[in-house]
Amino acid sequence: MKNWQENERSLDSIMNRNKNVVARPQKNPSYKNPGLFHRIWIHRESYLLMLPFLVLFSVFTLLPIFSAITLSFTSFNMLEMPRWVGWLNYIRLLLDDQIFLQVLKNTLVFAFITGPISYVLSFMLAWFINDFGPTMRSFLTLVFYGPTLAGNVFFIWTFIFSGDYYGLLNGWLINLGILREPIDWIGDTNYVLSVVLVVQIWLSFGAGFLAFIAGFQSIDRSLYEAAVIDGVRNRWQELWYITLPSMAPQLLFGAVMQIGASFGVSEVIKAVAGFPSRGYTADTIGTYINDYGVVRFEMGYACAIAVVLFLMMVGTNKVIMKLLKGLL
Protein backbone atom coordinates (compact mmCIF):
# COMPACT_ATOMS: atom_id res chain seq x y z
CA MET A 1 0.00 0.00 0.00
CA LYS A 2 2.65 2.43 1.09
CA ASN A 3 4.75 1.50 -1.89
CA TRP A 4 1.92 2.09 -4.31
CA GLN A 5 1.27 5.54 -2.98
CA GLU A 6 4.85 6.47 -3.45
CA ASN A 7 4.67 5.25 -7.02
CA GLU A 8 1.56 7.24 -7.62
CA ARG A 9 3.08 10.40 -6.28
CA SER A 10 6.08 10.11 -8.50
CA LEU A 11 3.81 9.34 -11.44
CA ASP A 12 1.70 12.37 -10.71
CA SER A 13 4.72 14.52 -10.92
CA ILE A 14 5.82 13.04 -14.26
CA MET A 15 2.52 13.33 -16.00
CA ASN A 16 0.57 16.08 -14.36
CA ARG A 17 0.78 19.21 -16.41
CA ASN A 18 -1.08 21.10 -13.72
CA LYS A 19 1.01 24.04 -12.66
CA ASN A 20 0.26 23.38 -9.01
CA VAL A 21 2.22 20.16 -9.15
CA VAL A 22 5.85 20.54 -8.24
CA ALA A 23 8.01 18.15 -10.24
CA ARG A 24 10.14 15.83 -8.16
CA PRO A 25 13.52 14.46 -9.14
CA GLN A 26 13.11 10.95 -10.52
CA LYS A 27 14.92 8.04 -8.99
CA ASN A 28 13.25 5.12 -10.68
CA PRO A 29 13.51 5.35 -14.47
CA SER A 30 11.12 2.43 -15.08
CA TYR A 31 8.15 4.73 -14.34
CA LYS A 32 9.06 7.28 -16.95
CA ASN A 33 6.98 5.65 -19.66
CA PRO A 34 4.34 3.51 -18.04
CA GLY A 35 1.84 1.61 -20.21
CA LEU A 36 -1.77 2.76 -20.49
CA PHE A 37 -3.19 -0.11 -18.46
CA HIS A 38 -0.61 0.46 -15.81
CA ARG A 39 -1.57 4.13 -15.60
CA ILE A 40 -5.26 3.22 -15.38
CA TRP A 41 -4.48 0.72 -12.61
CA ILE A 42 -2.49 3.29 -10.69
CA HIS A 43 -5.41 5.71 -10.84
CA ARG A 44 -8.01 3.09 -9.90
CA GLU A 45 -9.13 5.12 -6.90
CA SER A 46 -9.83 8.10 -9.16
CA TYR A 47 -12.09 6.00 -11.38
CA LEU A 48 -13.81 4.55 -8.33
CA LEU A 49 -14.62 8.05 -7.07
CA MET A 50 -16.12 8.98 -10.43
CA LEU A 51 -18.01 5.72 -10.88
CA PRO A 52 -21.42 6.72 -9.44
CA PHE A 53 -21.50 9.88 -11.53
CA LEU A 54 -20.24 8.19 -14.69
CA VAL A 55 -22.91 5.47 -14.52
CA LEU A 56 -25.83 7.85 -13.90
CA PHE A 57 -24.49 10.46 -16.34
CA SER A 58 -24.15 7.88 -19.13
CA VAL A 59 -27.64 6.52 -18.58
CA PHE A 60 -29.60 9.75 -18.06
CA THR A 61 -27.66 12.33 -20.07
CA LEU A 62 -25.23 10.86 -22.61
CA LEU A 63 -27.51 8.11 -23.88
CA PRO A 64 -30.44 10.54 -24.42
CA ILE A 65 -28.12 12.99 -26.20
CA PHE A 66 -26.89 10.29 -28.58
CA SER A 67 -30.48 9.15 -29.17
CA ALA A 68 -31.50 12.72 -29.98
CA ILE A 69 -28.62 13.10 -32.43
CA THR A 70 -29.61 9.82 -34.09
CA LEU A 71 -33.27 10.89 -34.20
CA SER A 72 -32.28 14.07 -36.01
CA PHE A 73 -31.64 11.89 -39.09
CA THR A 74 -35.10 10.36 -38.96
CA SER A 75 -38.71 11.26 -39.41
CA PHE A 76 -40.35 10.49 -36.07
CA ASN A 77 -43.89 11.40 -35.00
CA MET A 78 -43.61 9.66 -31.62
CA LEU A 79 -46.32 7.13 -32.55
CA GLU A 80 -44.76 5.12 -35.36
CA MET A 81 -41.19 3.88 -35.40
CA PRO A 82 -38.63 6.46 -36.56
CA ARG A 83 -37.90 6.31 -40.31
CA TRP A 84 -34.37 7.09 -41.56
CA VAL A 85 -34.28 10.16 -43.80
CA GLY A 86 -30.59 11.03 -43.82
CA TRP A 87 -29.77 14.73 -44.03
CA LEU A 88 -33.30 15.70 -45.08
CA ASN A 89 -34.18 17.45 -41.79
CA TYR A 90 -31.03 19.53 -41.94
CA ILE A 91 -31.53 20.45 -45.59
CA ARG A 92 -35.10 21.50 -44.90
CA LEU A 93 -34.03 23.48 -41.83
CA LEU A 94 -31.18 25.40 -43.40
CA LEU A 95 -32.54 25.94 -46.93
CA ASP A 96 -36.28 25.78 -46.72
CA ASP A 97 -37.48 27.17 -43.39
CA GLN A 98 -38.24 30.92 -43.34
CA ILE A 99 -39.34 30.91 -39.70
CA PHE A 100 -36.06 29.34 -38.66
CA LEU A 101 -34.23 32.42 -39.96
CA GLN A 102 -36.52 34.59 -37.83
CA VAL A 103 -35.99 32.58 -34.62
CA LEU A 104 -32.27 32.31 -35.37
CA LYS A 105 -32.08 36.10 -35.51
CA ASN A 106 -33.92 36.37 -32.17
CA THR A 107 -31.64 33.78 -30.60
CA LEU A 108 -28.58 35.72 -31.69
CA VAL A 109 -30.09 38.91 -30.24
CA PHE A 110 -30.45 37.18 -26.87
CA ALA A 111 -27.05 35.54 -27.10
CA PHE A 112 -25.10 38.64 -28.04
CA ILE A 113 -27.05 41.32 -26.15
CA THR A 114 -28.36 39.87 -22.91
CA GLY A 115 -25.53 37.30 -22.68
CA PRO A 116 -22.60 39.73 -22.33
CA ILE A 117 -24.68 42.25 -20.34
CA SER A 118 -25.73 39.61 -17.82
CA TYR A 119 -22.24 38.17 -17.53
CA VAL A 120 -20.47 41.48 -16.93
CA LEU A 121 -23.22 42.72 -14.60
CA SER A 122 -23.05 39.51 -12.56
CA PHE A 123 -19.33 39.80 -12.10
CA MET A 124 -19.28 43.52 -11.32
CA LEU A 125 -22.14 43.17 -8.86
CA ALA A 126 -20.48 40.23 -7.09
CA TRP A 127 -17.32 42.30 -6.90
CA PHE A 128 -19.09 45.32 -5.39
CA ILE A 129 -21.08 43.20 -2.98
CA ASN A 130 -17.91 41.54 -1.76
CA ASP A 131 -16.81 44.85 -0.19
CA PHE A 132 -19.76 45.21 2.17
CA GLY A 133 -20.09 43.90 5.71
CA PRO A 134 -21.60 40.43 6.21
CA THR A 135 -25.20 41.55 6.84
CA MET A 136 -25.35 43.93 3.89
CA ARG A 137 -23.58 41.38 1.70
CA SER A 138 -26.10 38.69 2.56
CA PHE A 139 -28.99 41.10 1.94
CA LEU A 140 -27.70 42.31 -1.43
CA THR A 141 -27.03 38.76 -2.60
CA LEU A 142 -30.64 37.92 -1.79
CA VAL A 143 -31.90 41.01 -3.63
CA PHE A 144 -30.06 40.21 -6.85
CA TYR A 145 -30.44 36.44 -6.79
CA GLY A 146 -34.10 36.88 -5.79
CA PRO A 147 -35.60 36.74 -9.30
CA THR A 148 -33.73 33.52 -10.13
CA LEU A 149 -34.52 32.07 -6.72
CA ALA A 150 -38.21 32.82 -7.10
CA GLY A 151 -38.66 30.16 -9.77
CA ASN A 152 -41.47 30.90 -12.21
CA VAL A 153 -42.47 34.21 -10.66
CA PHE A 154 -41.53 35.86 -13.97
CA PHE A 155 -45.19 35.47 -14.92
CA ILE A 156 -45.62 38.69 -12.89
CA TRP A 157 -44.21 40.58 -15.89
CA THR A 158 -47.35 39.71 -17.83
CA PHE A 159 -49.27 41.71 -15.20
CA ILE A 160 -46.83 44.59 -15.54
CA PHE A 161 -46.78 44.63 -19.35
CA SER A 162 -50.42 43.69 -19.74
CA GLY A 163 -51.84 45.37 -22.84
CA ASP A 164 -55.08 46.72 -21.33
CA TYR A 165 -55.77 49.54 -18.87
CA TYR A 166 -55.15 47.18 -15.94
CA GLY A 167 -51.51 46.66 -16.86
CA LEU A 168 -49.23 48.33 -14.33
CA LEU A 169 -46.96 50.03 -16.87
CA ASN A 170 -49.83 51.25 -19.03
CA GLY A 171 -51.65 52.53 -15.96
CA TRP A 172 -48.62 54.48 -14.77
CA LEU A 173 -47.83 55.93 -18.18
CA ILE A 174 -51.44 57.01 -18.71
CA ASN A 175 -51.58 58.53 -15.21
CA LEU A 176 -48.43 60.50 -15.93
CA GLY A 177 -49.96 61.73 -19.15
CA ILE A 178 -47.31 60.13 -21.36
CA LEU A 179 -49.80 57.83 -23.01
CA ARG A 180 -53.42 58.32 -23.95
CA GLU A 181 -54.21 54.81 -25.06
CA PRO A 182 -52.76 51.64 -23.53
CA ILE A 183 -50.00 50.02 -25.58
CA ASP A 184 -50.28 46.31 -26.26
CA TRP A 185 -46.71 45.57 -25.15
CA ILE A 186 -46.96 41.84 -25.64
CA GLY A 187 -49.32 41.65 -28.61
CA ASP A 188 -47.56 44.35 -30.63
CA THR A 189 -44.74 42.82 -32.66
CA ASN A 190 -42.73 46.05 -32.31
CA TYR A 191 -42.39 45.75 -28.55
CA VAL A 192 -42.59 42.13 -27.56
CA LEU A 193 -38.93 41.26 -28.14
CA SER A 194 -37.81 44.22 -26.00
CA VAL A 195 -40.18 43.17 -23.24
CA VAL A 196 -38.63 39.70 -23.15
CA LEU A 197 -35.13 41.25 -23.20
CA VAL A 198 -36.02 43.27 -20.09
CA VAL A 199 -37.30 40.17 -18.29
CA GLN A 200 -34.20 38.25 -19.35
CA ILE A 201 -31.95 40.94 -17.89
CA TRP A 202 -34.04 40.81 -14.74
CA LEU A 203 -33.03 37.14 -14.53
CA SER A 204 -29.33 37.92 -15.12
CA PHE A 205 -28.06 37.05 -11.70
CA GLY A 206 -28.16 33.29 -11.77
CA ALA A 207 -25.73 30.42 -11.38
CA GLY A 208 -22.74 32.46 -12.53
CA PHE A 209 -23.47 35.23 -10.05
CA LEU A 210 -23.59 32.88 -7.05
CA ALA A 211 -20.44 31.12 -8.22
CA PHE A 212 -18.70 34.51 -8.37
CA ILE A 213 -19.91 35.37 -4.85
CA ALA A 214 -18.52 32.08 -3.57
CA GLY A 215 -15.41 32.44 -5.71
CA PHE A 216 -14.33 35.73 -4.19
CA GLN A 217 -13.56 34.01 -0.96
CA SER A 218 -11.41 31.34 -2.54
CA ILE A 219 -8.90 34.12 -3.20
CA ASP A 220 -5.98 34.04 -0.81
CA ARG A 221 -6.09 37.37 1.07
CA SER A 222 -2.33 37.50 1.41
CA LEU A 223 -2.18 38.05 -2.37
CA TYR A 224 -3.75 41.48 -1.90
CA GLU A 225 -1.27 42.42 0.79
CA ALA A 226 1.59 41.31 -1.41
CA ALA A 227 0.12 43.29 -4.31
CA VAL A 228 0.20 46.55 -2.38
CA ILE A 229 3.87 45.98 -1.67
CA ASP A 230 4.41 45.23 -5.34
CA GLY A 231 2.96 48.61 -6.25
CA VAL A 232 -0.69 47.99 -7.04
CA ARG A 233 -2.22 51.37 -6.31
CA ASN A 234 -5.91 51.48 -7.13
CA ARG A 235 -8.82 49.10 -7.13
CA TRP A 236 -8.88 48.67 -10.90
CA GLN A 237 -5.28 47.50 -10.90
CA GLU A 238 -6.12 45.18 -8.04
CA LEU A 239 -9.06 43.80 -10.05
CA TRP A 240 -6.97 43.31 -13.18
CA TYR A 241 -3.80 41.85 -11.68
CA ILE A 242 -5.06 39.90 -8.66
CA THR A 243 -8.80 39.32 -8.62
CA LEU A 244 -9.47 38.32 -12.23
CA PRO A 245 -6.61 35.78 -12.52
CA SER A 246 -7.52 34.28 -9.14
CA MET A 247 -11.14 33.93 -10.22
CA ALA A 248 -10.35 32.20 -13.52
CA PRO A 249 -12.13 28.90 -12.72
CA GLN A 250 -15.30 30.68 -11.60
CA LEU A 251 -15.21 33.02 -14.61
CA LEU A 252 -15.04 30.05 -16.97
CA PHE A 253 -17.92 28.39 -15.14
CA GLY A 254 -19.97 31.57 -15.36
CA ALA A 255 -19.27 31.90 -19.08
CA VAL A 256 -20.46 28.37 -19.89
CA MET A 257 -23.61 28.85 -17.81
CA GLN A 258 -24.25 32.19 -19.50
CA ILE A 259 -23.90 30.69 -22.98
CA GLY A 260 -26.34 27.94 -22.05
CA ALA A 261 -28.80 30.45 -20.56
CA SER A 262 -28.68 33.02 -23.36
CA PHE A 263 -28.82 30.61 -26.32
CA GLY A 264 -31.37 28.37 -24.66
CA VAL A 265 -33.80 31.02 -23.39
CA SER A 266 -37.30 29.60 -23.80
CA GLU A 267 -39.33 29.30 -20.59
CA VAL A 268 -39.42 33.06 -20.06
CA ILE A 269 -40.55 33.66 -23.64
CA LYS A 270 -43.29 31.08 -23.36
CA ALA A 271 -44.55 32.65 -20.14
CA VAL A 272 -44.29 36.30 -21.17
CA ALA A 273 -44.82 36.44 -24.94
CA GLY A 274 -47.09 33.43 -25.32
CA PHE A 275 -46.32 30.27 -27.19
CA PRO A 276 -45.76 30.61 -30.03
CA SER A 277 -45.60 34.41 -29.96
CA ARG A 278 -47.47 36.38 -32.61
CA GLY A 279 -45.69 35.85 -35.92
CA TYR A 280 -42.77 34.24 -34.07
CA THR A 281 -41.47 37.76 -33.33
CA ALA A 282 -40.17 36.82 -29.89
CA ASP A 283 -39.50 33.13 -30.42
CA THR A 284 -36.04 31.65 -30.20
CA ILE A 285 -34.60 28.36 -31.35
CA GLY A 286 -35.39 27.04 -27.87
CA THR A 287 -39.13 27.65 -28.17
CA TYR A 288 -39.07 26.62 -31.84
CA ILE A 289 -37.79 23.21 -30.74
CA ASN A 290 -40.72 23.01 -28.34
CA ASP A 291 -43.07 24.00 -31.14
CA TYR A 292 -41.98 21.04 -33.26
CA GLY A 293 -41.33 18.55 -30.48
CA VAL A 294 -44.34 19.10 -28.25
CA VAL A 295 -46.97 20.75 -30.43
CA ARG A 296 -46.43 19.35 -33.93
CA PHE A 297 -45.02 15.95 -32.94
CA GLU A 298 -42.19 16.20 -35.47
CA MET A 299 -39.50 14.89 -33.15
CA GLY A 300 -36.93 14.18 -35.86
CA TYR A 301 -37.06 17.78 -37.05
CA ALA A 302 -37.01 19.10 -33.47
CA CYS A 303 -33.86 17.05 -32.80
CA ALA A 304 -32.20 18.45 -35.92
CA ILE A 305 -32.90 21.99 -34.70
CA ALA A 306 -31.50 21.04 -31.29
CA VAL A 307 -28.31 19.71 -32.88
CA VAL A 308 -27.84 22.95 -34.85
CA LEU A 309 -28.36 24.99 -31.66
CA PHE A 310 -25.90 22.72 -29.84
CA LEU A 311 -23.25 23.26 -32.52
CA MET A 312 -23.75 27.02 -32.32
CA MET A 313 -23.27 26.93 -28.55
CA VAL A 314 -20.21 24.71 -28.79
CA GLY A 315 -18.66 27.07 -31.35
CA THR A 316 -19.38 30.13 -29.20
CA ASN A 317 -18.06 28.31 -26.15
CA LYS A 318 -14.78 27.53 -27.96
CA VAL A 319 -14.30 31.18 -28.95
CA ILE A 320 -15.21 32.54 -25.49
CA MET A 321 -12.91 30.06 -23.73
CA LYS A 322 -10.03 31.09 -26.02
CA LEU A 323 -10.72 34.77 -25.30
CA LEU A 324 -11.00 34.29 -21.53
CA LYS A 325 -7.95 32.10 -21.27
CA GLY A 326 -6.01 34.66 -23.28
CA LEU A 327 -7.14 37.41 -20.92
CA LEU A 328 -6.59 35.64 -17.62
Partner: protein, 290 residues
Protein backbone atom coordinates in the same frame (compact mmCIF):
# COMPACT_ATOMS: atom_id res chain seq x y z
CA UNK B 1 11.58 54.44 4.22
CA UNK B 2 9.25 54.11 1.31
CA UNK B 3 8.96 50.38 1.87
CA UNK B 4 8.01 50.89 5.47
CA UNK B 5 5.28 53.33 4.46
CA UNK B 6 3.76 50.79 2.14
CA UNK B 7 3.84 48.09 4.77
CA UNK B 8 1.95 50.29 7.15
CA UNK B 9 -0.82 50.57 4.60
CA UNK B 10 -1.17 46.90 3.82
CA UNK B 11 -3.91 46.28 6.34
CA UNK B 12 -6.06 49.06 5.01
CA UNK B 13 -8.32 48.80 2.02
CA UNK B 14 -7.23 50.58 -1.10
CA UNK B 15 -8.66 54.07 -1.20
CA UNK B 16 -11.67 55.02 -3.24
CA UNK B 17 -13.11 58.42 -4.09
CA UNK B 18 -16.28 59.71 -2.42
CA UNK B 19 -17.82 60.46 -5.82
CA UNK B 20 -17.16 56.90 -6.92
CA UNK B 21 -18.82 55.62 -3.77
CA UNK B 22 -21.90 57.69 -4.41
CA UNK B 23 -22.14 56.53 -8.01
CA UNK B 24 -21.74 52.94 -6.91
CA UNK B 25 -24.48 53.36 -4.33
CA UNK B 26 -26.79 54.92 -6.92
CA UNK B 27 -26.23 52.09 -9.40
CA UNK B 28 -26.81 49.46 -6.71
CA UNK B 29 -30.01 51.16 -5.56
CA UNK B 30 -31.45 51.48 -9.08
CA UNK B 31 -30.58 47.95 -10.10
CA UNK B 32 -31.80 46.67 -6.74
CA UNK B 33 -35.16 48.40 -7.22
CA UNK B 34 -35.46 46.86 -10.70
CA UNK B 35 -34.83 43.44 -9.14
CA UNK B 36 -37.06 43.79 -6.08
CA UNK B 37 -40.14 45.68 -7.31
CA UNK B 38 -41.54 42.92 -9.57
CA UNK B 39 -40.97 40.40 -6.78
CA UNK B 40 -42.73 42.69 -4.34
CA UNK B 41 -45.54 43.12 -6.84
CA UNK B 42 -45.92 39.33 -7.08
CA UNK B 43 -45.92 39.09 -3.30
CA UNK B 44 -48.53 41.83 -2.89
CA UNK B 45 -50.71 40.42 -5.68
CA UNK B 46 -51.12 37.20 -3.76
CA UNK B 47 -53.04 39.15 -1.10
CA UNK B 48 -55.24 41.08 -3.50
CA UNK B 49 -58.96 40.36 -3.75
CA UNK B 50 -60.26 39.69 -7.25
CA UNK B 51 -61.64 43.25 -7.72
CA UNK B 52 -58.26 44.80 -7.04
CA UNK B 53 -56.44 42.71 -9.61
CA UNK B 54 -58.45 44.34 -12.39
CA UNK B 55 -58.94 48.01 -11.63
CA UNK B 56 -58.02 51.24 -13.33
CA UNK B 57 -55.75 52.89 -12.50
CA UNK B 58 -53.85 49.76 -11.44
CA UNK B 59 -52.52 49.94 -7.92
CA UNK B 60 -49.13 48.56 -6.90
CA UNK B 61 -49.98 47.92 -3.28
CA UNK B 62 -53.05 46.21 -1.94
CA UNK B 63 -55.82 48.29 -0.32
CA UNK B 64 -57.80 45.51 1.34
CA UNK B 65 -55.45 42.61 1.87
CA UNK B 66 -57.19 39.26 1.99
CA UNK B 67 -56.28 35.62 2.39
CA UNK B 68 -58.97 34.62 -0.12
CA UNK B 69 -56.43 33.41 -2.66
CA UNK B 70 -54.82 31.09 -0.16
CA UNK B 71 -58.19 29.82 1.07
CA UNK B 72 -59.21 29.26 -2.54
CA UNK B 73 -55.93 27.40 -3.12
CA UNK B 74 -56.49 25.11 -0.15
CA UNK B 75 -60.05 24.46 -1.37
CA UNK B 76 -58.78 23.46 -4.79
CA UNK B 77 -56.15 21.26 -3.16
CA UNK B 78 -58.63 19.55 -0.84
CA UNK B 79 -60.62 18.48 -3.90
CA UNK B 80 -57.71 16.36 -5.13
CA UNK B 81 -57.70 12.62 -4.54
CA UNK B 82 -54.77 12.64 -2.17
CA UNK B 83 -54.31 14.89 0.88
CA UNK B 84 -52.03 17.87 0.42
CA UNK B 85 -49.62 16.53 3.05
CA UNK B 86 -48.83 13.60 0.75
CA UNK B 87 -47.70 15.92 -2.09
CA UNK B 88 -45.70 17.92 0.42
CA UNK B 89 -44.03 14.80 1.80
CA UNK B 90 -43.18 13.55 -1.70
CA UNK B 91 -41.68 16.90 -2.62
CA UNK B 92 -39.61 17.26 0.53
CA UNK B 93 -38.44 13.64 0.44
CA UNK B 94 -37.43 13.71 -3.23
CA UNK B 95 -35.75 17.12 -2.96
CA UNK B 96 -33.74 16.31 0.17
CA UNK B 97 -32.55 12.88 -0.99
CA UNK B 98 -31.72 14.02 -4.51
CA UNK B 99 -29.96 17.19 -3.36
CA UNK B 100 -27.82 15.25 -0.91
CA UNK B 101 -27.04 12.59 -3.50
CA UNK B 102 -26.30 15.14 -6.18
CA UNK B 103 -23.85 17.12 -4.04
CA UNK B 104 -22.04 13.95 -2.92
CA UNK B 105 -21.85 12.28 -6.33
CA UNK B 106 -20.81 15.52 -8.06
CA UNK B 107 -18.06 16.35 -5.59
CA UNK B 108 -16.74 12.80 -5.62
CA UNK B 109 -16.48 12.88 -9.41
CA UNK B 110 -15.10 16.41 -9.53
CA UNK B 111 -12.12 15.75 -7.27
CA UNK B 112 -10.22 13.37 -9.59
CA UNK B 113 -11.14 15.50 -12.61
CA UNK B 114 -9.65 18.55 -10.94
CA UNK B 115 -6.59 17.07 -9.30
CA UNK B 116 -5.60 13.69 -10.76
CA UNK B 117 -3.97 13.00 -14.10
CA UNK B 118 -5.65 9.73 -15.00
CA UNK B 119 -5.94 8.69 -18.65
CA UNK B 120 -9.11 10.19 -20.14
CA UNK B 121 -9.25 13.22 -17.88
CA UNK B 122 -9.35 15.85 -20.61
CA UNK B 123 -12.02 14.23 -22.83
CA UNK B 124 -14.17 13.47 -19.79
CA UNK B 125 -14.07 17.06 -18.55
CA UNK B 126 -14.93 18.28 -22.06
CA UNK B 127 -17.92 15.94 -22.30
CA UNK B 128 -19.31 17.22 -19.00
CA UNK B 129 -19.16 20.81 -20.25
CA UNK B 130 -20.63 19.91 -23.65
CA UNK B 131 -23.51 18.08 -21.94
CA UNK B 132 -24.42 21.39 -20.28
CA UNK B 133 -24.89 22.99 -23.69
CA UNK B 134 -27.35 20.46 -25.12
CA UNK B 135 -30.95 21.67 -25.15
CA UNK B 136 -32.87 19.57 -22.62
CA UNK B 137 -36.18 19.92 -24.50
CA UNK B 138 -35.40 17.12 -26.96
CA UNK B 139 -34.07 14.76 -24.30
CA UNK B 140 -37.40 14.05 -22.64
CA UNK B 141 -38.44 11.28 -25.01
CA UNK B 142 -35.21 9.26 -24.84
CA UNK B 143 -35.15 9.84 -21.08
CA UNK B 144 -38.71 8.62 -20.79
CA UNK B 145 -37.91 5.45 -22.72
CA UNK B 146 -34.86 4.78 -20.54
CA UNK B 147 -36.76 5.39 -17.30
CA UNK B 148 -39.57 3.11 -18.49
CA UNK B 149 -37.12 0.38 -19.53
CA UNK B 150 -35.54 0.55 -16.08
CA UNK B 151 -39.00 0.02 -14.55
CA UNK B 152 -38.86 3.32 -12.70
CA UNK B 153 -42.19 4.82 -13.84
CA UNK B 154 -44.32 5.76 -10.82
CA UNK B 155 -41.45 5.39 -8.37
CA UNK B 156 -39.37 7.89 -6.44
CA UNK B 157 -36.42 6.60 -8.45
CA UNK B 158 -37.76 8.27 -11.60
CA UNK B 159 -37.59 11.62 -9.81
CA UNK B 160 -34.40 11.06 -7.82
CA UNK B 161 -31.93 9.11 -9.99
CA UNK B 162 -31.86 11.45 -13.03
CA UNK B 163 -31.60 14.44 -10.67
CA UNK B 164 -28.55 13.02 -8.88
CA UNK B 165 -26.34 13.17 -11.96
CA UNK B 166 -25.63 16.83 -12.50
CA UNK B 167 -23.03 17.94 -15.06
CA UNK B 168 -23.50 21.45 -13.66
CA UNK B 169 -22.57 20.22 -10.19
CA UNK B 170 -19.48 18.37 -11.39
CA UNK B 171 -18.35 21.37 -13.43
CA UNK B 172 -18.87 23.80 -10.53
CA UNK B 173 -17.08 21.60 -7.99
CA UNK B 174 -14.25 20.87 -10.42
CA UNK B 175 -13.64 24.57 -11.02
CA UNK B 176 -13.34 25.29 -7.31
CA UNK B 177 -11.23 22.21 -6.61
CA UNK B 178 -8.57 23.21 -9.14
CA UNK B 179 -7.76 26.07 -6.75
CA UNK B 180 -6.73 23.75 -3.90
CA UNK B 181 -2.95 23.72 -3.56
CA UNK B 182 -1.57 20.29 -4.48
CA UNK B 183 0.77 20.38 -1.47
CA UNK B 184 -2.30 20.13 0.76
CA UNK B 185 -3.27 16.85 -0.92
CA UNK B 186 0.28 15.54 -0.82
CA UNK B 187 0.44 16.15 2.92
CA UNK B 188 -2.67 14.04 3.35
CA UNK B 189 -1.23 11.23 1.22
CA UNK B 190 2.00 11.24 3.18
CA UNK B 191 -0.12 10.71 6.29
CA UNK B 192 -1.28 7.48 4.64
CA UNK B 193 -4.78 8.58 3.65
CA UNK B 194 -6.36 7.00 0.57
CA UNK B 195 -8.01 9.15 -2.08
CA UNK B 196 -11.49 8.75 -0.60
CA UNK B 197 -10.31 9.96 2.81
CA UNK B 198 -8.37 12.80 1.22
CA UNK B 199 -11.50 13.86 -0.65
CA UNK B 200 -13.65 13.81 2.47
CA UNK B 201 -11.20 15.18 5.04
CA UNK B 202 -9.14 17.64 3.02
CA UNK B 203 -10.85 18.54 -0.25
CA UNK B 204 -14.45 18.97 0.89
CA UNK B 205 -13.70 21.27 3.86
CA UNK B 206 -11.61 23.56 1.69
CA UNK B 207 -14.34 24.00 -0.96
CA UNK B 208 -17.17 24.62 1.51
CA UNK B 209 -18.51 27.71 -0.33
CA UNK B 210 -18.71 25.66 -3.53
CA UNK B 211 -20.86 22.87 -2.17
CA UNK B 212 -23.00 25.27 -0.18
CA UNK B 213 -23.70 27.02 -3.48
CA UNK B 214 -24.33 23.70 -5.20
CA UNK B 215 -26.90 22.80 -2.53
CA UNK B 216 -28.87 25.89 -3.58
CA UNK B 217 -28.69 25.07 -7.30
CA UNK B 218 -29.57 21.42 -6.80
CA UNK B 219 -32.42 21.95 -4.36
CA UNK B 220 -33.92 24.74 -6.41
CA UNK B 221 -34.01 22.77 -9.65
CA UNK B 222 -35.26 19.55 -8.03
CA UNK B 223 -37.88 21.34 -5.94
CA UNK B 224 -39.29 22.94 -9.09
CA UNK B 225 -39.17 19.89 -11.37
CA UNK B 226 -42.70 18.69 -12.08
CA UNK B 227 -41.79 15.17 -13.21
CA UNK B 228 -45.38 14.55 -14.28
CA UNK B 229 -44.30 12.59 -17.33
CA UNK B 230 -42.59 9.95 -15.18
CA UNK B 231 -45.14 9.74 -12.38
CA UNK B 232 -48.85 9.23 -13.05
CA UNK B 233 -49.82 7.76 -9.71
CA UNK B 234 -51.45 10.61 -7.77
CA UNK B 235 -49.90 9.41 -4.49
CA UNK B 236 -46.39 9.73 -5.94
CA UNK B 237 -46.76 13.20 -7.45
CA UNK B 238 -44.83 16.21 -6.20
CA UNK B 239 -46.02 19.77 -5.55
CA UNK B 240 -44.92 21.42 -8.83
CA UNK B 241 -47.02 19.06 -10.95
CA UNK B 242 -50.11 19.94 -8.87
CA UNK B 243 -49.23 23.61 -8.96
CA UNK B 244 -48.86 23.68 -12.72
CA UNK B 245 -52.26 22.00 -13.01
CA UNK B 246 -53.74 24.82 -10.94
CA UNK B 247 -51.88 27.49 -12.89
CA UNK B 248 -53.25 26.04 -16.11
CA UNK B 249 -56.61 27.29 -14.81
CA UNK B 250 -55.76 30.65 -16.33
CA UNK B 251 -56.74 34.24 -15.71
CA UNK B 252 -59.77 33.58 -13.50
CA UNK B 253 -57.29 32.21 -11.03
CA UNK B 254 -54.73 35.03 -11.38
CA UNK B 255 -54.70 35.60 -7.63
CA UNK B 256 -54.36 31.89 -6.92
CA UNK B 257 -51.45 31.72 -9.36
CA UNK B 258 -49.67 34.38 -7.32
CA UNK B 259 -50.50 32.46 -4.13
CA UNK B 260 -49.08 29.25 -5.62
CA UNK B 261 -45.86 31.00 -6.64
CA UNK B 262 -45.52 32.41 -3.14
CA UNK B 263 -45.99 29.04 -1.42
CA UNK B 264 -43.55 27.30 -3.77
CA UNK B 265 -40.96 29.99 -3.15
CA UNK B 266 -40.66 29.56 0.61
CA UNK B 267 -38.48 26.40 0.93
CA UNK B 268 -35.80 27.50 -1.59
CA UNK B 269 -35.78 30.93 0.05
CA UNK B 270 -35.23 29.52 3.55
CA UNK B 271 -32.50 27.19 2.30
CA UNK B 272 -30.86 30.06 0.42
CA UNK B 273 -30.74 32.20 3.55
CA UNK B 274 -29.27 29.36 5.62
CA UNK B 275 -26.55 28.40 3.15
CA UNK B 276 -25.79 31.96 2.07
CA UNK B 277 -25.15 32.92 5.66
CA UNK B 278 -22.63 30.10 5.93
CA UNK B 279 -21.00 31.09 2.64
CA UNK B 280 -20.56 34.62 3.91
CA UNK B 281 -19.37 33.45 7.33
CA UNK B 282 -16.61 31.40 5.73
CA UNK B 283 -15.85 34.54 3.75
CA UNK B 284 -14.68 36.36 6.86
CA UNK B 285 -11.98 33.75 7.36
CA UNK B 286 -9.60 34.14 4.48
CA UNK B 287 -9.44 32.00 1.34
CA UNK B 288 -7.79 28.68 0.69
CA UNK B 289 -4.30 28.64 2.09
CA UNK B 290 -1.53 26.13 2.14
Amino acid sequence: MKVRFHRLRTNRKLNRSAGGNFLLFLVLALLGAFMVLPLLYAFVSAFKPMEELFIFPPRFFVANPTLDNFIHLSQILSNYWVPFSRYLFNSVFVSVVATFGSVMVSSMAAYPMAKHSFPGRKPLSDVVVLALLFTPQVLYIPQYIIIAKLGLINTYGALILPAIQSPLGVFLMKQFMTQIPTSLLEASRIDGANEFTTWWKVVMPSVKPAWLTLIIFAFQSIWNQPGNSYVYDEAMKVLPSIMSQIQAGGLARAGVVAAVALVMMIPPLVLFQLTQRSVIETMTTSGIKE
